[in-house]
Symmetry: C2
Subunit: 164 residues, 2 copies
DNA sequence: GTCAGTGCAAACTTTTTGCAACTAC
DNA sequence: GTAGTTGCAAAAAGTTTGCACTGAC
């Protein structure tokens, strides 16, 4: 099972990371890692909290989630994004590089891939800077909102749908 | 004076925007626009608040700053970023397109330009999506932190300087 | 004169922190 | 045994909201 392989691998990476840094290997940390690697796409702390509770039946405090995520980011197993109000995260091991397209009206985030773009970014020469990762956010209006706008064009109202 | 020209132009754009949207032309709104266009680089709401108070001697509430910034973003005169904890903004009219290089250790943000990159991004075909603007954030370790790390490599400590 | 806009304070949301209890080592 | 971790609750930080007052139109 491909998915299980990835989980095993990241568990091993995390174990090595914890050992190297002199951190403890607590059950909470591995449960969090496991849950994160069963999520496709983005998630925030709250949805992770709920998912662990409901689907994995594992109760951790939000404080521990925040603490552990910092370690996972440092271990390069998780990437942090900041689109809307709350921080969004995603697993990063064994994932294809992708970019983000964000609708400024409804807040919907779509991923897309583009090799040329990827190459251009990675080939960028940066002086005195050790590149670790990057995020490209493209903002605009998605097709759905675009159509919705055309319908109610007469009114001068700004429609601000709540993100999230 | 080049800078004054820009200020006059954006004031005119904003005036037209407000008229078109049926919003009022209040002194607060123009004072905020003027202050923003006298700032080079990024700022957050709090520093804008303080700057208006101290340097322009103009007192506005934070609520008004938030309200007005939304209008300015909609009028395409300001761009919003989300690096650290609080939202960062910057003027966008008449500014060269640039990208951001962020040090994950000290949080320092540096701007850089790269035409090839810019072209690659702008040429990206997005289906059913009306591009408005984009942000490329490149994360890594800056030269300064890199050197600092080498010095204290023996200790296994993670140095987490507070961003902001 | 009217209603959009403002200031203020309270509310809300997300994240951080202090501390007692717990447990990996 | 003991220091690193956890959970909890309180605090902090950033942003939004409700409401009375003000002023642009």
């Amino acid at each position: 099972m491909e998915n299980q392989n990835v989980k095993d691998t990241v568990k091993q990476i995390f174990t090595e990371y914890l050992t190297a840094k002199g951190h403890r290997k607590t059950p909470e940390r591995f449960a969090i890692l496991d849950t994160i690697y069963s999520i496709d796409g983005h998630f925030d702390i709250d949805s992770l909290y709920l998912r662990m509770m409901e689907q994995q039946n594992f109760r951790v405090s939000r404080a521990t989630l925040y603490n552990t995520i910092i370690l996972l980011i440092d271990a390069r197993l998780v990437i942090k994004h900041q689109f809307g109000n709350s921080s969004q995260y995603e697993k990063s091991y064994n994932r294809e590089t992708h970019h983000h397209q964000i609708c400024t009206q409804c807040g919907k985030v779509t991923e897309f891939q583009n090799e040329e773009l990827q190459r251009a970014i990675e080939n960028t020469k940066l002086s005195r800077f050790q590149l670790s990762h990057y995020s490209l956010y493209i903002y605009g209006v998605c097709g759905k909102c675009e159509r919705a706008n055309k319908k109610k064009k007469k009114t001068g109202n700004i429609t601000h749908k709540k993100e999230k």
